[in-house]
């Protein structure tokens, strides 16, 4: 009987595993290639000016991406500004303040937020959060911070602020779970050393927990940003979907993801389809780069 | 005891060396092991005993960055020869590890017969026979015969280790390596294993690394004393423990060193 040496048999498995791994790596490259290919007509006709033009008018076959880039960036940034401190504080609450049995439950609950489908967030946003923003949050902000241009103008409920609020809830689990795992790595002796200097708990946390974790926290924030940039459904349902650039947080807008969700299935001119693919490519690149950036922070952090 | 001296040599190391990266862990060991004897290897921790043992069935090379040189002869054939399939070496030189390590999510029965089964033996009666005889040799049969289908990991630590011994015996290797098999066990479980080793000796050659000198003195026919990758002394256990030739050995067994 023909019998392979065991090393040869092992090599066979190894090569099968390698081939499948290469297929997966190829899949990622394939995604990039297919997007570039589909976006090519738009890239050729508009080039980089696509990024700076403000007009998005499928009827006239005019496509400029600036309103969507603006909408994506502004909603994600507001979401980050809200979610970052909240996430860090929750992570500290779980790791430093709660007893172990409780911390389990709370962290499970926070992670449950990540499990809720974004369509449900959107639904809740339409029927609960948007009316709440219109009736309570917007008047409150106008009353107290109305001198800022961003808090001026009428609020219809849906708009930048509402989309950003829902985004901030959605990205908290991403940021806080990473922060939590970083804070858990802080060795007990460092905390004790800080206590031994007479620190209060707050001072200990500042000194021994947060300070050494800054790179990890920043990578968590960048990963949260990546999540926010690409979030589609909830934002689509809450942002109002009009390609305008407005200085008011109450006004409707549109994001790169939301315009794709809204128009892709109905796009009928080749340039329209291609321009949407151009947006998809851009969104892919932005999230890709931010995730890559987050990885490198973690890497240099763990090396140093 | 002296008739062991005339028994056939079954395993032989010749100028065996081993490295972890740049660290020279085993430095030129030459020694003979005779059939159906128990051979103990003692020495201070970190002296390369385990690494040496792991070279005898070529499991050392499974760790990345390791290297070996020299020869190990099993019944006169060098197991490090390029034409030899490492799998065949390990079928003939079994091993029991420091920590009891029954395979997870596998029944007691499956644990014992998995070696045979994965070699292509699927006849149920053969497997059951082997399982029973090996579990008997490992002094575990009476305790598990009614629950062969419960998980291997559900047993106590001592029972798990005996299960691992049965698992190793099932492949029927003439030589059995044991790497501190009782260091994770309590004294009663340890005594059980020492007892069964005397039975095993009737059919198998055992080479056991132990950190416990009393154990070596109790059970072994021959003892080697290792320090920093060198074998200081090898001989009949009765000689080593009563009348060592080397000063270092004497210091170690009398507790002045190590």
């Amino acid at each position: 009987m023909f019998k392979l040496k065991s090393k040869t048999q092992d090599a066979l498995l190894f090569y099968i595993l390698r081939v499948i791994s290469l297929v997966v790596i190829g899949l990622l490259l394939g995604i990039i290639y297919v997007l570039i290919d589909a976006a090519w007509p738009a890239i050729k006709s508009n080039g980089l000016s696509f990024l700076l033009r403000k007009d998005w008018n499928p009827v006239e076959d005019q496509y400029g991406a600036l309103p969507f880039i603006f909408g994506t960036v502004i909603t994600s940034l507001i979401a980050l500004v809200i979610a970052t401190p909240v996430s860090i504080l929750i992570a500290l609450f779980i790791t430093e303040y709660l007893p172990k049995s409780f911390s389990r439950i709370v962290s499970l609950l926070v992670e449950m937020v990540a499990a809720i489908p974004s369509i449900v967030f959107g639904l809740w946003g339409i029927f609960y959060l948007a009316p709440f923003v219109k009736s309570t949050i917007a008047p409150f902000l106008k009353l107290h911070l109305g001198f800022l241009p961003v808090f001026q103008g009428p609020s219809f409920g849906i708009g930048i602020l509402t989309a950003a609020l829902i985004l901030s809830i959605m990205i908290v689990p991403t940021i806080s779970s990473i922060c939590r795992s970083i804070f858990e790595l802080v060795p007990a002796h460092q905390k004790e050393a800080s206590y031994a200097l007479g620190s209060t708990k707050y001072e200990m946390i500042k000194l021994a927990v947060i300070a050494p974790s800054i790179p990890g926290i920043s990578s968590a924030v960048v990963l949260g940003l990546g999540r926010a940039l690409g979030e589609t459904m909830a934002v689509t349902m809450l942002i109002g979907n009009s390609p305008v650039i407005s200085s008011s947080f109450f006004s409707p807008a549109a994001t790169m993801a939301s315009v794709m969700a809204n128009e892709y299935a109905d796009a009928n001119t080749p340039l329209h389809v291609s321009s949407l693919c151009y947006l998809a490519l851009l969104l892919f690149l932005i999230t890709f780069l931010s995730n890559l950036f987050a990885k490198t922070i973690v890497k240099s952090f763990s090396k140093g | 005891m002296s008739d062991y001296k005339n028994a056939k040599v079954i395993l032989e190391a010749k100028k065996l060396e081993a490295w972890f990266g740049d660290f020279h862990a085993v430095k030129g060991i030459t020694v003979e092991y005779r059939e159906k004897t128990i051979n103990a290897i003692i020495g201070p921790s970190g002296c390369g005993k385990s690494t040496y043992l792991r070279c005898l069935n070529r499991i050392h090379e499974e760790i990345e960055g390791t290297r070996t040189a020299g020869e190990v002869l099993l019944e006169g054939k060098n197991i490090y020869d390029k034409r030899v399939d490492v799998v065949d070496v390990r079928k003939r030189i079994g091993m029991v590890f420091q920590k009891p390590n029954p395979f997870p999510s596998m029944s007691i029965l499956d644990n014992v017969v998995i070696g045979l089964r994965l070699q292509g033996i699927s006849k149920r009666s053969t497997l059951l026979e082997t399982a029973e005889s090996c579990l008997r040799k490992a002094a575990l049969w009476e305790e598990v015969k009614d629950k062969l289908n419960s998980m291997g990991t559900s047993l106590s630590g001592g029972q798990q280790q005996r299960l691992c011994i049965a698992r190793a015996l099932a492949v029927n290797p003439p030589v059995l390596l044991m790497d501190e098999p009782t260091s994770a066990l309590d004294p009663i479980a340890t005594a059980k294993i020492e007892e069964l080793m005397n039975e095993i000796k009737k059919e198998y050659t055992v080479i056991i690394v132990t950190h416990n000198m009393q154990q070596a003195a109790r059970i072994s026919d021959f003892t080697s004393f290792f320090v920093y990758g060198n074998m200081i002394e090898h001989g009949l256990s009765s000689d080593i423990f009563t009348n060592p030739k080397e000063k270092q050995t004497e210091d170690y067994i009398s507790g002045r060193f190590g």
Partner: protein
């Protein structure tokens, strides 16, 4: 003395802030759950599971087609993602030192960060365009790309929990490494791997964006892989943005079913995974 009480004050203030942050997330969580439960339960009836949608204006009707469609598309995606994902998990855990393995790890990390809408567009371009039709198959492809990184990562983690001495014990029996990997390590971890798969399925089942222009949706039952197929999330979306009160109620019913389905799977998988990790941690 004054400085000391200031420090104490800051200390308490910080505690209150952390507590407030926890509430800031838990309150929305609970209102969402409460909203979905109350609104959803009141719009649910047996008909919801057994009937098809009725035309606008007629009361009643259900989402049988969407529930079946979601199961169909998710299982289709899982069938493609599981073999590839587990294989990659094996490669990452058993050959973690190789260069390709590191590249694969990075690839998988980056893949998990791709916005799901982009994956939807990709699936549209490679399946819908050449086949000239929206189809359940395209939806399955999109969901499989979403599940893949999750399955790879959990498989890797789970297989890495198997201690090295178990592998050595297998090798020491004279088994070639591939048999040790497949018949001892992998087989011994099957039930644990399943939890990772459930986690991936629970994620994919809630995805809407990748299905919008792949599986698309319809209003009747379809079992053909090459035709458009309804799914719960897309159906909820269609109903939610419609102006009809009756449809909006249906959307809540759908959200209720989807949430119960997903949270049960998710919590179950997480519960098991923490248990596994705890056990190995000792």
């Amino acid at each position: 003395m004054n400085y000391r009480s200031y420090r104490k004050f800051k200390n308490y203030l910080f505690l209150i802030l952390t507590l407030a942050s926890a509430l800031a997330v838990l309150i929305p969580l609970f209102t969402i759950i409460q909203f979905v439960l109350v609104q959803g339960a009141s719009s649910l009836s047996l008909n919801f599971f057994t009937e098809l949608p009725k035309p606008v204006g007629e009361a009643g009707g259900g989402m049988k087609h969407a529930i079946l469609g979601t199961i169909y598309i998710v299982l289709l995606g899982a069938a493609m993602a599981i073999p590839v994902g587990v294989t990659c998990g094996i490669y990452l855990s058993e050959f973690s030192k190789s260069k390709l393995s590191k590249t694969l790890k990075l690839t998988v990390d980056l893949m998990s960060g791709i916005p799901s809408i982009v994956i939807g567009i990709f699936a549209y371009l490679i399946v819908v365009v050449p086949l000239k039709s929206f189809s359940a198959f395209a939806g399955g492809i999109a969901l499989s790309i979403i599940m893949l990184p999750i399955i790879v990562k959990t498989s890797e983690e789970i297989l890495k929990l198997v201690p090295n001495h178990i592998r050595e014990a297998g090798l020491a029996l004279g088994l070639p490494r591939w048999k040790v990997i497949l018949f001892i390590i992998l087989k011994g971890s099957v039930s644990n791997l399943l939890t990772g798969i459930i986690l991936a399925i629970s994620r994919a089942a809630g995805e809407t964006a990748p299905l919008l222009f792949t599986a698309f949706g319809n209003m009747y039952i379809n079992y053909h892989i090459n035709e458009p197929m309804a799914s719960l999330p897309v159906q909820i979306y269609t109903y939610a943005i419609s102006p009809f009160k009756d449809w909006q109620r249906q959307a809540w019913g759908g959200a209720f079913v989807l949430m119960v389905l997903i949270l049960t799977m998710n919590l179950f998988a997480r519960f098991i995974l923490t248990k596994i990790k705890d056990k190995k941690g000792i």
